[in-house]
Symmetry: C2
Subunit: 324 residues, 2 copies
């Protein structure tokens, strides 16, 4: 049972608005990404922030439940509660959450936090770990350098993505050399779905990569050049609830509480044709529309459950964790 | 107990990001709005969509738990489950939800739905109510006309709001006259927080008004002229987690998953001064900042709990309903 719908039911029977996930596309995206990094000999540490579910985490880690990135401590706790370990909290450690970080560090084999200010180092030193554990030698040890090439989101096409990936990789590797020169040897990790979906050979010199969105992809990623539209695993299903001929628009039952798009109110979406007059006879009230999200992370955040299908037939539902 | 914090604790002890509600301001906003409409002899039917909580609904209805508007069937069911009645589902009835609407109509003394297309009328006729109830005589009866003057959101100042309120009121009343001329007599209701916060005398001729946001207000409403900043009841608390001198920015622990603003990533907010160089010594890491939301409805939607305070001391927490 999936609420009032049943396993095997067609997704078109779902009450809208609803977010659906094509599990076959999810698996294919996860395998392709693993393939890239196995080939380059670099550890893939997938980011959980896009979906925040156990089931999708299992697909991304190939069932190992090891070596992940999270964006909130709520995620860290959720995954730890379900047997995950080797968790990287990819967030400048917030001073009001040092205690929660320490508890996770004491509970897991490996829990990593990010620092980007000397004051944060002081905060960690003020909360030594129990059971002979250490934040690391001399109290704290640098495990690695973490960079996110967020500027790939301004790219259009593989060539531009490669240029940013090359620049980021070079900068990180140069920084590693400088650290080495003063006797510090540690790991290096860079991220972003665009650069990791279009890897360049230099990235083989990194220790890890940490993309996340790739498991769902979205319209934004297809515009950037990370994927084709056929790789996008998520859809929002919505129904036509109104005709507005005076505006040449359809009204949908899907507002910004279900999707992130322009021209929306809290619970209404407005659709208009790129050109010409809408033919309303093609879209009677009740017509089901399938919308490909522009940003999957933001869209997923608005749904407390994702309905999962294979070939349009429901196979289960995934429940994300929320909060901070 | 409020999770790990206690009643009476100062809100500054809360883990961030977090949304806090000043219950005294909420009560004052609710009373002022009731005052406007008692004076004009018009029924106030408050909209629940901004907060979606029981406690705030009780404040808005003065404890009567009667005569409300909701934006989703999830809200309708939530309020019905808690003894509310006379609920208006202010949404063109979606064809996949006729059955759920019928069940609510059979269960409550009064449950009203909106129609704006003849096809929707057919849908209701295909699902007659049980127990001698009717959608109304001849199967369906028109209870009233519902309009939302959303164009008040483009106003700046009371004068412009009055102009839109006057135009909307006039149009609705003219329409009522036309209906009357063909023998149909029914109620009239208009909404929007700007027009209802700055009522004009003509609105006394309406049967009902249905504002919602006014109980929280926000920066947008203060810019429009519905309220002063001192009337905004909600804040997002956030802490400084990074200094970015190369960008003249502070980094906050509050992204679009907690607030809707420009220049945010999923879990990071970026703040820069209107002019000049940031003095970082004034904002060490860990500094607590208080942010007034631009749009309270959208901000509230991102929080699964609101912490409620009086004079900065916690008095409880409110849990909203979600979904559709």
């Amino acid at each position: 049972m999936l609420g009032s719908v049943m396993e095997g039911d067609c997704i078109t029977t779902l009450s809208t608005p609803v977010m659906v996930v094509d599990v076959d596309v999810v698996k294919r995206n996860a395998e392709r990404m693993r393939g890239h990094w196995t080939k380059l000999g670099v550890t893939l540490r997938p980011h959980m922030k896009t979906h925040k579910t156990l089931e999708c985490g299992d697909i991304m880690t190939g069932g190992s439940r090891r070596c992940i990135v999270v964006s909130t401590l709520a995620e860290a706790g959720f995954y730890a509660d379900h047997g995950y370990d080797d968790i990287l909290y990819a967030y400048s450690v917030p001073f009001d959450k040092v205690e929660r970080c320490a508890l996770l560090a004491e509970r897991l084999s490996l829990f990593q936090v990010l620092l980007d200010h000397r004051d944060a180092l002081e905060q960690l030193r003020k909360r030594p770990l129990t059971d002979g554990r250490v934040w690391h030698s001399e109290g704290v040890e640098l495990t690695g350098v973490y960079a996110h090439c967020g500027n790939t989101y301004g790219c259009r096409g593989a060539e531009q993505i490669h240029a940013v990936a090359r620049e980021t990789t070079t900068l990180v590797l140069q920084f590693m050399e400088k650290l080495k020169a003063v006797g510090i040897s540690c790991k290096s990790s860079i991220g972003s779905t665009p650069s990791c979906s279009q890897p360049i050979s230099d990235m083989a010199k990194l220790s890890e990569v940490h993309p996340g969105n790739y498991v769902f992809f979205d319209v934004q990623q297809s515009v950037i050049g990370s994927c084709g539209l056929e790789d996008v695993a998520v859809r929002v299903l919505s129904r036509v609830i109104g005709h507005s001929p005076h505006r040449n628009q359809l009204l949908l039952d899907c507002g910004w509480s279900a999707l992130r798009l322009l021209s929306m109110t809290q619970e209404h979406g407005r659709v208009e044709p790129l050109s010409g007059q809408l033919d309303y006879s093609r879209y009677p009230l009740g017509t089901l529309l399938t919308i490909i999200p522009y940003h999957a992370c933001a869209t997923a955040m608005m749904h407390s459950v994702y309905y999962v299908h294979s070939g349009g037939r429901l196979v289960g539902k995934w429940t994300p964790t929320r909060g901070w």
